[in-house]
């Protein structure tokens, strides 16, 4: 099987690659979103702990 046959997928290329593409995007988002959210949670909590440290003084 050569590359162009692989892309064409026996005439079903549009369906097959749309399915794989959509799946890839959704699965990737489920990695990116928690990473970003973790980042923002850490930042918020650091700000919170600094504010508390400021109050204690």
């Amino acid at each position: 099987m050569n590359w162009s046959d692989f892309i064409v997928m026996g005439g079903y290329g549009h369906y097959v690659w749309s399915a794989y593409g959509f799946t890839t995007v959704v699965l990737a988002l489920n990695i990116v979103i928690p990473l970003r959210r973790r980042h923002s949670v850490m930042r918020t909590l650091r700000r919170l702990s600094r504010a508390e440290a400021g109050q204690a003084e």
């Binding site: 079903y12 749309s18 399915a19 959210r37």
Partner: protein, 242 residues
């Protein structure tokens, strides 16, 4: 065993597990995709279009599996007030909704060339759509209540009511005359699918399962920090993980 139920220990353990789970996930998906896309022969009836199966079927299985985990965690949270169980249930919902959405979209993209239609109000498809609404309802309900404990309890009740949909999805192809084909893999004894297709399918299914554990632990970790923000150990974590 019990010591990992404390948020602090769970946080640390999850942090150690995630890289290993992620590595295994990548390995399984790489081998599964290679065997599924390059090695497995075309189907004698469906030609190359059947290759959508290698993502459609594993995500369909996961859409049910994640729901059962979510409902069980919700029940455990209701019964024992364990924070970890509440966080697990809440972390499951968006991942389960994603698998359900993937199932519906890839199914539609497979149905169009094979059945001649993107969608049919058949029992299997409709009950899977209801599953998506259950996940969305769970997330919306939880987001609508500010106090985390009350939000978790309300959402858990919804998840438990929705469990009734799970056997309906599973048996829909047997109970009703559906457009959707019956299961090929789980037939007792002799699965009606050739090993050259079954092996990549099972590798992909295992890969999806490990992917789920990876991303659910990622979500649980930051939610635990949020829920425990006033405790001493979180301050230590914040200081250590610069």
């Amino acid at each position: 065993m019990y010591k990992y139920a404390s948020p602090k220990n769970f946080y640390a353990l999850a942090g150690q597990l995630i890289p290993w789970l992620a590595g295994l996930t990548v390995l399984l998906l790489a081998v599964g995709l290679y065997l599924g896309l390059f090695v497995a022969p075309p189907d004698y009836q469906q030609g190359e279009s059947y290759r959508i199966m290698f993502i459609h079927v594993p995500s369909a299985w996961m859409s049910l599996f994640v729901y059962v985990v979510m409902a069980a965690a919700g029940a455990a949270g209701l019964a024992w007030h364990t924070k970890i169980a509440e966080v697990l249930a809440s972390a499951c919902a968006p991942v389960g909704a994603s698998f359900t959405l993937i199932t519906l979209v890839t199914g539609s993209l497979w149905g169009k060339p094979m059945w001649g239609t993107w969608w049919a109000w058949d029992a299997r498809l409709t009950s899977e759509l209801i599953l998506l609404f259950l996940y969305i309802g769970f997330m919306a309900l939880q987001a609508s209540i500010d106090e985390p404990r009350r939000a978790a309890r309300a959402a858990a009740v919804l998840a438990l009511v929705g469990v009734v949909n799970i056997p309906i999805i599973h048996f829909s192809v047997e109970w009703w005359n559906t457009l959707h084909q019956p299961a090929s893999v789980s037939k007792v004894g002799t699965p009606s699918i050739h090993p050259s297709m079954l092996v990549p399918l099972l590798l992909m299914a295992l890969g999806f399962k490990l992917y789920f554990f990876t991303v659910v632990l990622m979500r649980m970790r930051y939610q635990i920090l949020e829920r425990e923000k006033y405790s001493h150990w979180v301050a230590e974590v914040l200081a250590a993980e610069k």
